[in-house]
Symmetry: C2
Subunit: 380 residues, 2 copies
């Protein structure tokens, strides 16, 4: 988000919605044993601009939901929280302002250790009063949806805190929008989600995949206590970052998400290795093929016709390829159709169109070929 914010400030951009997939480089020394390399691919989606509350924020969550659903990565959960709810909560619990950050990073460990250990860290290592820690504990063990937000809005202490109430009201609005988008079931308001809060100013979120093996454990909350295999997407609102790079401090409100594509790819690869699924390695729709000799020139003419009409087509780069090899190539790469020509087809003005998966073959008049291929491959 930092390079994006700098880019907006330098180019005086006040409105943009964009995604970005690129190789980036870590500044720190990554722990390569944990699969963190210095060079890696990052995928970001961000919406910048002065808009009405929570509308772009809801779209970011919708996009995370869509990506994780479409890729069929199994059960997932998107935890959300709000910087302002956390700040307000720490305040009403009596955490000194200079301890917000360190207490925050302790709270963030609640997905990895039980509350008692987190409390212990707060009290013994970070010098927080045990009563203060207990008050925090009452909040950060909560998670839920609209009903929890309603409860917190009426909470004796939080309701007195202006910042917390702003966060809670926005969170309520967010769940209304998430329901309209049909994604609220996979989103959970979780007061222990704390992430690095350095530049987040509003909503924060993190998507985690659930391991299905853990589904047999006794569970209080069906989704949140499945063993997480780690975060696959995370982000939030960062309204102050662009202003830090603008010489005049002009702010551009932003909300965005980073998708952990390297982790997602490694999960998908594992799943594919475990199954017998074929990965389609090409976008080619048709292979122009022949069973006879000396038809390279005819194949070239036909493939050029298909290219001209925008069909993704290929020929084998051999003068006299075997039909079997051409069909095997389609099966290996996932090309769905074969347009076969021979002396007879040329004489009759037809092309034999073969569906690779079913082996069905049909003669198509040459002038109808484009239309027929489009009908069979275009998925509008």
């Amino acid at each position: 988000m930092v390079p994006f914010a700098r880019y907006l400030a330098m180019n005086k951009i006040t409105n943009i919605k964009r995604y970005h997939i690129a190789k980036v480089y870590r500044r720190d020394n990554p722990a390569m044993t944990r699969g963190r390399y210095r060079e890696f691919y990052q995928c970001d989606f961000d919406i910048a601009g002065q808009y009405d509350p929570m509308i772009p924020d809801a779209e970011c969550l919708k996009i995370v939901h869509e990506i994780l659903s479409e890729l069929q990565l199994g059960e997932f959960l998107i935890k959300v929280n709000d910087r302002r709810v956390l700040d307000g909560m720490f305040e009403v619990c009596g955490v000194p302002a200079d301890k917000f950050r360190t207490i925050c990073s302790a709270v963030d460990k609640m997905d990895k250790m039980p509350w008692e250990d987190v409390k212990n860290e707060m009290v013994s290592e970070k010098g927080l009063a045990p009563e203060t820690a207990d008050k925090i504990g009452e909040y950060v063990q909560l998670n839920g949806r609209s009903e929890l937000i309603d409860k917190l809005v009426q909470d004796a202490k939080l309701s007195q805190n202006k910042v917390a109430m702003e966060g809670l009201n926005d969170m309520k609005q967010l769940f209304v929008y998430l329901t309209l988008f049909g994604v609220e079931e996979k989103v959970l308001f979780d007061l222990s989600l704390a992430r690095g809060l350095d530049y987040y100013t509003g909503v924060i979120y993190e998507a985690v995949l659930a391991q299905s093996q853990a589904a047999t454990q006794t569970q209080h909350n069906e989704l949140s206590e499945q063993v997480s295999v780690g975060s696959v997407a995370a982000g939030g609102r960062y309204d102050g970052l662009v202003g830090m790079f603008d010489p005049k401090g002009r702010k551009v409100p932003c909300v965005g998400v980073s998708i952990g594509i390297e982790r997602i790819f490694s999960i998908m690869e594992q799943r594919l290795e475990a199954s017998d699924e074929k990965i389609r390695t090409t976008e080619t729709q048709v292979l122009v093929a022949t069973a006879q000799k000396n038809l390279l020139e005819e194949r070239m003419k036909l493939v050029a016709e298909l290219w001209k009409s925008g069909i993704k087509a290929e020929i084998t780069y051999k003068k006299n390829p075997k039909l079997l090899n051409q069909l095997q190539y389609c099966e290996e790469t996932g090309i769905p159709l074969v347009a076969i020509i021979g002396e007879q087809e040329l004489k009759d003005g037809v092309v034999k169109l073969r569906v690779v998966s079913t082996r069905e073959e049909v003669d198509v008049a040459r002038e109808n070929l484009i239309e027929e291929i489009e009908k069979r491959t275009c998925q509008p």
Copy 2:
């Protein structure tokens, strides 16, 4: 091509066709005043594998032709030559083997200076005998297509040179394939094309754009003497490069082309600035809009329906946007359709579909909306 060849060798890949667009970094100190930066985008297309002669080579030229035609960059010419024709020519002219390379780089200047100056460089600076230079001059001033190849095949000296004849026979075959692909008119066999020959082993090519202002000059050859604005694509066959990176020296024949996308983009930008053409800055097909207040939730529901069907759709992130602003946004960004809802449309179960360019509006039953949008935007 070097990183690609290394990649093939390291991963033992013997067959691949791929394109690649990425930021790369120059090793040398670029002359930034001439628009050469150390960081720049490169676009490559390569075909690797043991195939029958000139089939993938012809496809590379077809692709260059397609790119330059589709982008409407104006008149262009693709010059082709062959490393073996150049080597054979130098041999039969009597150039000492250790002078091939330096004479080659002199020949390569013929697009920028007249033959007399090039000859002068060969003789005075590079110590070539004047008769040898004159013999070279007879060849390198030639350009043409099949008829020139036929003439050279019968050339008393060249026809005695095995390497040159291999190159000429392949060149003849290449033009047959280019004719089948319908691109031979823009391709010119030019014996002065010499490029850096370090790793090329067969056909070489370079695409140049012609400046139309130059079209009024007296011209011997219509295309080749228009003033070139420089190379926008170049490449050739490099059959030895992968073997250099393979520990056992296993060769993988390759042919490829680099597209000068930065130069092409700057030409396209200049042209767009000069015209009043609108650049479409989004792929969005439909904006879901309203003229009335309090319909954000209905817009959200509809946009989610469209997303679910794979339609590229947007809403404005405002609770109560003005219709005019929503329509202006479509005009600015080039979104072709607007799906307008109001109280009446919701009651009637319809959506008002507006075509931005014609301002035509038609009521579409909600259950037919997806189909109607697809019909109007899908270009199969």
